[in-house]
């Protein structure tokens, strides 16, 4: 991988958005994008614009809701917050990702050890 940034796997952005909203409460699109960038330590390759496709998808599924409001410095912006269904989905998806990453970790470790045996 070296210095290059991580390409996002299909579906991971949706999960990041859900988790961000769950942790931060109500946020606008820019805020969500910035938050993800900060948390990832700028390791994620994210065109901020792509967040909006994710937002509309989550909204259509009823996992987040949106309403226009005013930002801390008095700008009009659309604020998103996670719904009850969204939290349920987040729990399920998070568990899935954790299991998957655990399995991936073990599988990769096994390959590493395979040469020594």
């Amino acid at each position: 991988m070296g210095d290059s940034k991580l390409d996002l796997l299909q579906g991971t952005l949706d999960l990041m958005v859900l988790q961000t909203l769950a942790a931060m409460g109500s946020l606008h699109g820019y805020g969500i994008a910035r938050r993800i960038e900060q948390v990832s330590g700028d390791q994620v390759l994210l065109n901020q614009g792509t967040i909006y496709a994710s937002l509309v998808r989550l909204q259509q599924r009823g996992w987040i809701s949106a309403e226009w409001g005013t930002s801390e410095n008095n700008r009009k912006a659309k604020f998103y917050s996670i719904t009850k269904a969204g939290r349920k989905q987040l729990t399920a998806d998070a568990a899935y990702w954790q299991r998957l990453s655990g399995v991936m970790g073990r599988v990769l470790a096994m390959q590493d050890g395979g040469g020594k045996r």
Binding site: A33, T50, Y52, Q60, S71
Partner: protein, 875 residues
């Protein structure tokens, strides 16, 4: 639940595209504002802050596109977008659009119209219970035969019945009219399995000699003449001098297989003499196979019955051979060969239309090559471009299909209005849903199939290469040219096949028209009357009616001469077996059969049939005079070769009692009795006055007039009704009309095939014109160079025309081979020529080449007008 909500949301997004887009724009603007503000706070200059914000955001348009894809139904949106684009393109180029749509509309319209008729005539099952079980055979039967077969066929037929079409007089209206009566056997209703709509059908106990006078009405007669009276059952109507009680009315969709019948009466009741007579086979019989019995098994059974009947009744039934035919096949057999030829023709027209359509698309694709190349260079994916092109031609195809279906509706109405007599008993030829669907399916398939090749090749552009050609027109390349040329050659070949087919029919028809009918049909008017059995059962009464009627008609002003006797081509025939005086006797079943005509008045003068020898029949040949006969030329040649027939004696072979020898007194010329296409048969003419056949109550009355005869009709009616006001005049028509009618079906086939061939030729000519025009405009530069280095206008003309001639030659050559292979399928429709008639082939080939060269001449002339200086600068 989630997926449903999502689907609804996506659907909603499709319809609220604009507000959603506006909201997204606002959201993105706010995003950028927020980002710029944060960057400013970090101390960047306004320009740098904005630049950084935009970089982090990524492509605005891509983000929007992703957003739209996520929220809506991308496939549908692309389709709508493509459709909008396609419509815009077509409106920009209405000439192209109209040509393409019209081309397909003609092909699909003609095809659907003919298919509608085929569907109604051949594919739709007959309107009877389990029609696949019904069978019939070629020969007719007598009522006694029907009874015997029914009694002996119980192991393989579950029912059988018979009908004989006759005429009865209905005198319940203002004028007496002749109606089509079915003299039936009660089994007819049982075998067809259709119950009455009102009342009931004939019962076996009513179907006996001396049975009650009861009648079952057909739906059209009931509606038209009895005002659809729903309480008609039990009432009486007057028929042929007797009163009949109505016992039932048949449903609207019911019709006897081969005839139009207005009402049904029992043969045994109405005509017991005929019912008891085995020798005259006049009834069409229909039979129902028992479930599980094959037609082959039934045929074996029938062979045994044939053998038994022939053994029991050698004089009437010798040589019986019953060949069973499924009823469906029998009913459609008469028209099917012509219909299949026509269907083949319209399929060829459709093929040509499709080839033309593909050619048009190809030409258009080539002229839009640059657009495609630019779109590909700007990042349009190949799949996306093909999809766009396909959307466009499918749209065209569907428009063409829709227009074609409208054409088909009119075409079907026309076809039905002009339907030949063989289809007359089918009253329900209409487009149904299956025809509509298949028509639309064909058009969509056409669009996809014939649009795919041009669409595919259009996107195969070598982007870099094409862009390098800068200002120069992007040419289609050799592959595209070859494809279009192949299409045009195929079109010409197919059109050639159709033209040859039509040419053969036209040639046949011309031959038929020039056939001498043997009589002069001009200024002759005829009608038919039936003397009601109730008042004219005895011969003397019949004779005096005829004699009196002739006297009154001959005294009418405007009448040259009148006679009583069946005129040629009228469709009725009476044949008798014949015995010759002074020759060894022949067993009854082996005697020759001849046509017989009973006449009164001067038949030969009225019909203008030439007398070849002896004398004509005269008024003096009365009932108390020696029996005489006149024979025709064929009869004289066949039975009196090398002898003088005058003075020889003949008699009917089947007569009982003392022999009634008739002396031949004259020989007349031959007449086309059945149709112009059929040769004359041996015929015997005898005086009505000397006839002992009291059943000959049906008779033609024929009048020759000095000029046009139509004005005479009221006077003719008045004369008949002055003798008996209960007798209707049937089928009043001139001999010319009768002659035309006998040609109607051939004329119908000829006109239709001619129409389709014309259509095919037109389409093919449009095709070759398009190719040549395009080729000339593409070669303007080259032609300019040729002219600049000294080629004359005639050289250019020769070059272009030569190119056209090569295409035409190839097309015609292939077409001739195809025609030779195919025209033998239409042998039964031809008259007097072979399916490979060289004169027709040559004439059609010359016509084809001439028309094609004419079509090439226009672009060729345009080529000669090329100005070299302009052309060389032309980019």
């Amino acid at each position: 639940m989630d997926t449903l909500r999502q689907a609804l949301n996506r659907l909603r997004a499709l319809f609220f595209r604009r507000p959603l887009d506006e909201e997204l724009d606002a959201e993105m603007a706010s995003h950028l504002d927020l980002a710029i503000e944060e960057n400013r706070r970090r101390g960047l200059s306004p320009e740098e802050a904005r630049r950084q914000a935009l970089i982090r955001f990524g492509g605005v348009e891509q983000a929007k596109e992703r957003h739209r894809d996520a929220r809506g139904i991308p496939a549908l949106e692309i389709l709508l977008q493509d459709l909008r684009y396609a419509i815009r393109q077509l409106r920009k180029n209405p000439g192209f659009a109209c040509t393409a749509i019209l081309t397909l509309a003609l092909g699909i319209g003609a095809n659907t119209a003919i298919f509608t008729v085929i569907n109604a005539v051949m594919l739709r099952p007959l309107p009877y219970a389990n029609p696949q079980e019904l069978v019939t055979w070629r020969g007719n039967e007598s009522q006694l035969d029907v009874d015997d077969i029914r009694a002996q066929s119980g192991s393989f037929f579950s029912a059988g019945g018979a009908v004989n079409p006759e005429v009865m007089d209905y005198t319940g209206g203002t004028e007496p009219i002749g109606v089509h009566a079915g003299y039936v056997d009660a089994g007819l209703f049982e075998v067809l399995g259709v119950p009455a709509m009102l009342g009931r059908t004939l019962l076996p106990q009513e179907d006996v000699k001396g049975g009650p006078r009861v009648v079952v009405l057909g739906y059209p007669f009931w509606r038209e003449y009895l005002s659809g009276d729903r309480n008609i059952v039990g009432k009486t109507i007057p028929l042929s001098g007797n009163s009949y009680t109505v016992i039932g009315v048949m449903p609207e969709r019911f019709a006897v297989p081969e005839y139009s019948v207005d009402l049904f009466v029992s043969l045994r009741m109405v005509y017991p003499e005929a019912a008891a007579y085995r020798g005259v086979h006049f009834m069409r019989s229909y039979w129902r196979l028992k479930p599980g019995i094959t037609i082959a098994r039934a045929a074996t059974g029938m062979a045994a019955i044939d053998a038994r009947l022939a053994a029991s009744y050698p004089s009437e039934e010798k040589g019986r051979h019953t060949a069973l035919v499924p009823l469906q096949e029998w009913v459609t057999g008469e028209v099917s060969s012509a219909l299949w030829v026509l269907f083949g023709a319209v399929c060829v027209v459709l093929l040509i239309a499709c080839a033309n359509f593909a050619g048009l698309l190809m030409a258009r694709t080539v002229s839009r090559r640059r657009e495609m190349v630019i779109r590909a260079a700007l990042g349009g994916g190949r799949g996306r471009l093909v999809r766009q092109a396909l959307t466009e031609c499918t749209l065209l195809a569907m428009l063409g299909g829709a227009a074609g279906l409208v054409l088909a509706k009119f075409g079907t109405d026309l076809l039905v209005a002009a339907k030949p007599a063989a289809l007359a008993h089918l009253n329900s030829i209409a487009m149904d849903i299956s025809v509509l669907i298949s028509g639309l399916a064909v058009s969509i398939l056409t669009g996809l199939l014939f649009g795919l090749a041009p669409a595919w090749s259009s996107t195969r552009a070598d982007v870099a290469g094409a862009m390098k050609e800068e200002g120069r027109t992007v040419t289609s390349g050799p592959a595209g040219h070859a494809f279009r040329r192949t299409l045009v050659i195929a079109e010409l070949a197919l059109a050639m096949v159709l033209l040859v087919g039509a040419g053969l029919l036209i040639h046949s028809f011309a031959r038929l028209r020039s056939v001498d009918p043997g009589f002069n049909p001009s200024n002759v008017i005829s009608f038919f009357i039936q003397l009601p059995a109730a008042r004219y059962s005895e011969i003397p009464k019949q004779t005096s009616f005829r004699r009196e009627l002739l006297a009154r008609l001959n005294s009418l002003p405007g009448v040259d001469a009148a006679m009583v006797g069946d005129p040629p081509l009228n469709g009725s025939e009476v044949t008798h077996s014949l015995a010759f005086d002074g020759r060894p006797p022949v067993a009854e079943g082996d005697q020759p059969e001849v046509d017989t005509f009973c006449v009164m008045g001067d038949y030969f003068r009225v019909m203008q049939i030439p007398l070849h020898a002896g004398r004509a029949l005269a008024d003096a040949d009365r009932e108390d005079q020696p029996l005489v006969a006149v024979i025709n030329e064929v009869m004289a040649r066949k039975y009196y070769a090398g002898e003088n027939p005058i003075g020889q004696r003949i008699r009917w072979g089947h007569e009982a009692g003392p022999p009634r020898w008739m002396t031949i007194v004259g020989v007349v010329g031959d007449v086309k009795q059945y149709s112009l296409a059929q040769p004359a048969e041996p015929a015997v003419f005898t005086p009505f006055a000397q006839s002992n056949e009291s059943w000959r109550r049906w008779m033609g009355v024929v009048v020759r007039t000095p000029g046009a005869s139509a004005g005479l009709i009221p006077a003719l009616k008045a004369q008949v009704w002055s003798l008996d006001n209960q007798i209707p005049l049937n089928r009043i028509q001139s001999m010319d009309e009768l002659l035309q009618l006998s040609l109607a079906e051939r004329r119908f086939n000829m006109l239709l095939l001619g129409l389709f061939a014309g259509l095919a030729l037109t389409l093919a000519v449009v095709g070759i014109y398009g190719v040549m025009s395009y080729s000339v405009s593409e070669r303007t530069h080259e032609i300019g160079i040729r002219m600049a280095v000294g080629a004359g206008r005639s050289d250019v003309l020769k070059m272009v025309m030569g190119q056209g001639a090569r295409l035409a030659g190839l097309g015609v050559a292939i077409g001739i081979l195809g025609a030779i292979a195919l025209t033998r399928l239409m042998t039964s429709l031809l008259f007097g020529i072979t399916p490979t008639d060289p004169a027709t082939f040559i004439a059609v080939a010359v016509l084809m080449v001439a028309v094609v060269l004419l079509a090439c001449f226009v672009p060729a002339r345009r080529a000669t007008k090329v100005d070299p200086t302009v052309a060389l600068r032309y980019e």
